[in-house]
Symmetry: C2
Subunit: 320 residues, 2 copies
Amino acid sequence: MANIKDIAKIAGVSVTTVSRVLNNHPYVSKEKKEAVLQAMEEYNYQRNINAVHLSKGKTFLIGVVIPFTNHPYFGLLVEGIAKEAVKYNYKLVLFQTNYEVVREIEALEMLQHKQIDALIICSRSCGWDLIDEYLEYGPIIFCEDSRGRNVSSTFIDHYKCFYNALEYLYDKGHRKIGYCVGRKSGTNSRQREKAYRDFLDKEHLSFDPDYIFYECLKFEDGVKVVQQLTRMDNPPTALLVTSDIVAAGMITYCKEKGILIPDDLAIMGFDNQPVAKIMHITTLEIPLVEIGEKLFLQALDSRSNSHEEINVKLIERQTV
Amino acid sequence: MANIKDIAKIAGVSVTTVSRVLNNHPYVSKEKKEAVLQAMEEYNYQRNINAVHLSKGKTFLIGVVIPFTNHPYFGLLVEGIAKEAVKYNYKLVLFQTNYEVVREIEALEMLQHKQIDALIICSRSCGWDLIDEYLEYGPIIFCEDSRGRNVSSTFIDHYKCFYNALEYLYDKGHRKIGYCVGRKSGTNSRQREKAYRDFLDKEHLSFDPDYIFYECLKFEDGVKVVQQLTRMDNPPTALLVTSDIVAAGMITYCKEKGILIPDDLAIMGFDNQPVAKIMHITTLEIPLVEIGEKLFLQALDSRSNSHEEINVKLIERQTV
DNA sequence: GTAATTTATGAAACGCGTATCATAGCAAGA
DNA sequence: TCTTGCTATGATACGCGTTTCATAAATTAC
């Protein structure tokens, strides 16, 4: 396979001139440019991108850390990142971590080794101490409130969101309110728990650990939650469900079991996924695609750190 | 940032020796190895992976082309690929194409430019003529029957599957059978249509184009299909639905509308996703994770082409 | 005891495109 | 006419790790 040197020789020019042609540098005469292009054509020249990367010190790859690819929340987030990446001619390397720290480290190491130019962490298991070790190697962007840290982030204020949603349910008359989240630990979950406890305190409601449901990620997890509810002596009358698809599972199963929504159980979903519209789920619209886009742009801007808070919108439908 | 030359100088050895230490080559004395390691430690040496890539001519990246990331079918497929990739220390570059040919070309070009070592195409829009242009640059692996072509593949015989499934429904007494697929064109859809038509011919049943539903990918698409059914004068009594999640949508909506399953409408799903179990969907189990694993291994083996057919298993539950 | 291996080490070439610097011709402005 | 400044081109260094080849010393083999 021909390289730039071969092309230069064949076209009777220097490698510099060939490089100029490759990069559309203006200072190349028409004749030489022609000759170079023809030589490239003739020998089916392919620029070795690894040499470019070595020379330029960047790869036009951006790493994206997500726990699951087949989850609508992360699906939309990635969609947003990808949308913007295309514009800037960047490609994405997806790291599906299943919340395993070793996988997160793999991603961080790729940043360290300059195999990716930046890393977007949409959700993580590892601690900040680990992150800090890798900050020197390139930009790391977060989809969680990381104000006060030396990184960029685009985030939802989950504390505020949750608090407002709880107040909304309270105003609708609910006093036994529970919630479902994806996992127990994690920044977002902690913020939500804090909001939940603060809210309970304010309204002088008692805290019941059984009102919190973890590991709610998929349609079938919603079914499981309802199954648990039916076994409870004093089940909640309303639930905040942090994924519409889980809410959809709950509603489906409730219908099967004759549990009336919202009368027996009020459900507020999150994300405003398409399924929410179809199933008339009252939900908090989170502009995930937009968040993804912003995350990407922050990843590109390696010099300055910024923090963007994104607002959510309540979509009132028929499940509360 | 220190490079291999600096480390060599500091440790008082040649770059070759440093390289040997980096690659665990046996012929390095204990003392020199120590010295090198210490120098690396002290200067926080990071091997420039792009230089390695340039030198080795490979990147340990494998491209994966999928139309959608947030779809359970492709989610599981990618899971299988990723599972195997980890073992071999490869990373994946995911190309979400939305079935746009330009995106597929992007992936092919990354192969051409040696930015990825191989490309796995799980589903495509482009034609074989385009693929053929890129075959010379590296292995391209397919998740569709591509026997007779100069590539590797792991696939389901969708013709056989569909035909068998149709016979199963026929044996259950159904004479008005329709089906739902993801998209109209595409290798799999064509195979299925052929099976459908051949089956109708064999059983002397007439072909009704309204019995075929396209663009069925998500939960909400299932809802739409049922809505269409209710508007039909002579709707099918049984449907093959090529995704459990779509079947789940159909069943959910049927329940809402009082359509009895399987009496009014029999539904056979595909994939045996978790949702199929929960909703008691009769389905064809497709071992997607296993297929993903095999695809990856084929991608690694660049010299020989192979074709593996994967068998499916009927899981009888309550929707047929 | 000499030949054949094995161990240990380094110089230099290689993979390949980009960036800097130097050079030279030519045109516009003073 | 002389100075700038732009156009055009190439030599060379650079980014950096791997690999080949050569050499020397230390073992093992016969």
